[in-house]
């Protein structure tokens, strides 16, 4: 059997490297469009200050971008190094959007980023703007394809199991590309990036205004960031709702968990604003509730019921029992792939194959599974509730607070009185970390909420790892975390240094 320490360490390493990568990605996604906006004003009006804004925010963009690339290299290869069985089992589908990402998006972004930095003197004004736009487009296309890959892990459409090759295979490419889960996640995630980029510019500009330096520069940056940020914050919330709707279709366990909804309630279900969660008893000690809200948000109907955690566990227990038969049928058909009768039997049980594989965490041979093992596997088929419940509320709470901030900032920039509101400027400055916290919390909700699966309903996480030793994993985990932390410290140092220097770093004594 697979060593559970290897599984745990592989998960920690993936979480660490993905969360580190996602410190840098959202800023790239959002800041790149802000650079396009600033440079467009420069090209349209011919005003020098907008070119300097593009170049200065571009410098900070570059400092961040370098670590985005660094930590991104790992992500392309880590499925192979640490999740070899996953890579084998679903690579036929999952590998395609990753390869397309490289060819269609990452090439574009990376080629244009070089011209963005070094092409100022060699390109015409519109030519350089085109380069900046293509760079932003490349970055955002990259996100689209990665989220198509991730969307498939959340809701595995357009694919079927092949017993001969012992893996999932692509049957419908367009279903993969236009999966509802993927589309909702994409727009939600890039919008979160737009909010991140905007708050970064808004916060640093506010700091200049509070200090009374670079006033003209900061005022203009503040305005652009306020407008873009408000649009982003509205979109992130609306599309977050869409993402929630998609989850309610494909992953009822995740929805029940983030809502700490233990019992199936009559439709439309109430929403737990906050709750004291008791995992042992599978109930809440107390909760502050908004009646009907969850049912309306998640099902967009007043009659559809949402299953509670207890009901989901009971359903999954039945699927695990049927899954045992599926695993046995698969073994039989693999011995005689030409036997149509065995194949027909496997196909009739196939939908529960993944649930049968859940038992492999407890026994090598699913025929030996005891009722106790089945009960345990069914219990573990829904992830632990508390961290998901609270990380979801952290994400949403910060999202709403940022929406309020951007709404006020936009209102004040329309009335041109934000410089007289130091409280607003301070809010923006001290809120700079907020989008990052919300993004990381969102990643946690999406990925921890999918447990115990890597591919929902298809492949359990504990089967997905490589055949590595615990020592290998300790070594690489410490290597990654140590190396990344060191680089993050350097990055933060340079980011602070260049933000403090301000636009003067381009040409002293100008604005």
């Amino acid at each position: 059997m697979i060593d559970s320490a290897v599984v745990d360490l592989s998960r920690i390493q993936f979480a660490a490297t993905a969360l580190y990568h996602f410190i840098f990605v959202p800023l790239t996604l959002g800041l790149s469009w802000l650079l396009v906006a600033m440079e467009s004003v420069h090209v349209l009006t011919g005003k020098e200050i907008y070119r300097d804004m593009t170049r200065f925010w571009g410098k900070l963009f570059g400092i961040n971008f370098a670590l985005g690339v660094t930590t991104g290299i790992t992500m392309e290869f880590q499925f192979g190094t640490n999740w070899a069985y996953y890579s084998h089992y679903v690579g036929d589908i999952f590998g395609a959007p990753l390869a397309i990402e490289g060819l269609m998006a990452f090439f574009l972004e990376s080629t244009m980023v070089g011209l963005f930095f070094f092409g100022w003197q060699r390109l015409s004004k519109p030519g350089h703007l085109l380069v900046t736009t293509l760079m932003a487009l490349g970055a955002n296309l990259s996100a689209a394809l990665i989220l198509i890959a991730n969307g498939w892990m959340q809701d595995p459409v357009g694919s079927a199991f092949n017993p001969i090759t012992m893996r999932m295979e692509l049957t419908d490419f367009w279903a993969l590309i236009f999966s509802h889960a993927a589309q909702a996640k994409f727009v939600h995630t890039v919008s979160a990036g737009y909010v991140t980029g905007s708050l970064f510019v808004l916060g640093i500009s506010s700091w200049y205004l509070l200090k009374g330096s670079n006033i003209e520069f900061a005022r203009r940056s503040f305005r652009i960031a306020a407008a873009f940020g408000l649009a982003g914050a509205l979109s992130v919330i609306v599309l977050g709702d869409e993402s929630g709707y998609a989850v309610s279709e494909s992953q009822k366990s995740k929805l029940a968990t983030i809502e700490a909804m233990w019992e199936t309630e009559p439709a439309p279900a109430g929403f737990n604003l906050i709750a004291s969660i008791n995992e042992e008893q599978q109930s809440n000690n107390w909760a502050i509730r908004i009646p009907y809200a969850l049912g309306l948000i998640a099902t967009r109907s007043t009659t559809e019921t949402l299953p509670g955690i207890r009901e989901i566990r009971a359903e999954n227990e039945a699927r695990i029992k049927s899954g045992i038969e599926a695993v046995i049928a698969l073994e039989a058909v693999r011995k005689e792939p030409q036997n149509a009768e065995l194949m027909a039997r496997f196909r009739s049980l196939e939908k529960d194959l993944g649930y049968g594989l859940l038992l492999k965490a407890y026994t090598e041979d699913v025929r030996q599974a005891t009722p106790e093992m089945i009960r345990k596997a069914a219990h573990a088929s829904v992830p632990p509730v508390s961290t998901l419940f609270w990380s979801f509320r952290l994400m949403v709470g910060l999202g709403l607070a940022m929406l309020a901030l951007f709404a006020l900032a936009f209102w004040s920039s329309a009335r041109n009185n934000f410089q007289q509101k130091p409280w607003l400027l301070k809010w923006a400055l001290f809120f700079i970390p907020a989008p990052w916290i919300a993004c990381e919390a969102g990643w946690w909700v999406a990925e921890f909420g999918r447990q115990p699966w890597t591919v929902f309903g298809i492949l359990p996480t504990h089967l997905s790892t490589s055949s590595l030793s615990v020592a290998d994993l300790y070594g690489s985990l410490f290597g990654f975390v140590g190396f990344y932390t060191l680089l993050l410290v350097v990055e933060m140092y340079l980011m602070f240094k260049y933000a403090r220097l301000g636009p003067a770093v381009l040409q002293p004594n100008k604005h």
């Binding site: 192979g80 890579s87 084998h88 590998g95 395609a96 574009l108 080629t111 692509l170």
Partner: protein, 378 residues
């Protein structure tokens, strides 16, 4: 449009194209990074070298990233088995590569000489280590990699990292290091001037000779070692998995394809032509032709290795029948077909804007240019 067997063959070629693209494109900036402490005598020299590739290294690195993605999509068995088996070798490459984006971007952000020297060594490691390890990995393919597959297709690796560093594999590492070094040296000869260019030209001569000696030496060793031969395999145009064939080891078998199809000998011959062309052209002052010669060497060295191994991709020394080949380690028909269209559409687009980017940034990078644009350059 194509049958499954043809698609499998096309994808073997396409992965080859990506590896060759990587060697030519990322190869020249890795070569520059490798030569950085050797040819760059002062900070300005080193900045000239770095800025000769500054606008392009990031785009070039995508050949490597896309290579990884394409192997994932087209050969998931290979992606899973090779990268988890040679775990520490791949991590070594990744950790070395980490130095590149930050090295380029951060190095000249502060004037402190110790800071700059540290990033210079980072850029050197980020270039030389991957260049060496790629050759070592290829060398081990010829020797066979100790892995096995169980009946659920889970792979198990039974070797160690240190076993990868055997003399033959290290010789192949010298081939790849000198190949990418030559690529960097011809590029520098073309894009720099003055004493730095003279040093780059000298490096071209030295590296071309080292490359040809090491390449020839590796060929002699391959002649003497056991190669792998497929003894039986079901219809290669059908849906098969790696455990359905039988494989035996035979001395000299890696030369089998060349003996069957003597025209293939022209491929290794091009390596000699390319390296000698680089050497002679650089002496004649034809630096662009030297770069073309060096690029031809990249193409033919990689193709020679691929053709010798074909249809094997990852031979297994521990369980020969589990060896991964171009026939049984591939994705499904649907995936190979879709990805072929993606490649046919996007590769020309990538080549077009990459050429445009080089065109925009063409011309020599000089010491005066560095001095005049201190704050804007790497």
């Amino acid at each position: 449009m194509f049958d499954y067997e043809t698609l499998k063959l096309i994808w073997w070629l396409l992965v080859g194209v990506l590896l060759i693209g990587f060697a030519i494109m990322d190869g020249h900036d890795m070569g520059v990074g490798t030569l950085l402490p050797i040819l760059g005598k002062d900070d300005t020299d080193r900045r000239v070298m770095i800025n000769s590739v500054a606008p392009h290294w990031d785009g070039n690195q995508v050949w490597f990233i896309t290579g990884g993605g394409a192997i994932f999509a087209a050969w998931p068995f290979v992606y899973a088995t090779a990268f988890s088996g040679m775990y520490w070798a791949l991590l070594l490459v990744l950790f070395a590569l980490f130095f590149r984006p930050v090295g380029f971007e951060y190095r000249s952000k502060l004037p402190n000489p110790a800071w700059r020297a540290a990033w210079d060594w980072g850029l050197f490691a980020g270039s030389a280590v991957p260049a060496l390890v790629f050759g070592v990995a290829f060398g081990n393919l010829f020797l066979g990699v100790p892995f096995s597959l169980d009946d659920t297709m889970r792979s198990f690796y039974s070797g160690s990292f240190w076993a990868l560093l055997n003399p033959f594999a290290l010789l192949c590492g010298v081939v790849s290091l000198s190949l990418l070094g030559l690529q960097g040296a011809t590029f520098l000869a073309h894009r720099t001037e003055g004493t730095l260019q003279l040093r780059a030209k000298l490096a071209v001569s030295v590296l071309a000779i080292v490359l040809l000696l090491a390449f020839s030496g590796a060929g002699v060793v391959v002649w003497r070692i056991d190669g792998y031969v497929i003894q039986s395999i079901p219809d290669v145009g059908g849906v098969i998995n790696p455990l359905m064939k039988e494989v035996v080891r035979q001395p000299g078998a890696w030369f089998g394809n060349f003996q069957k199809l003597p025209i293939l000998w022209s491929i290794p011959a091009i390596a000699y032509v390319g390296a000698l062309l680089a050497l002679l052209a650089v002496r004649a002052g034809k630096t662009l032709i030297a770069f073309v010669g060096s690029s031809l060497a990249c193409l033919s060295v990689i193709l020679t290795a691929g053709v010798a191994l074909f249809p094997f991709i990852l031979p297994s020394s521990a369980m020969p029948k589990a060896s991964l080949t171009a026939w049984d380690a591939t994705s499904s028909y649907v995936t190979l077909n879709v990805m072929l269209w993606v490649a046919l559409i996007f590769t020309p687009i990538v080549l077009a804007y990459t050429s445009w980017a080089y065109h925009v940034m063409s011309g020599k990078v000089t010491r005066e240019f560095i001095a005049a644009n201190d704050k804007q350059l790497y």
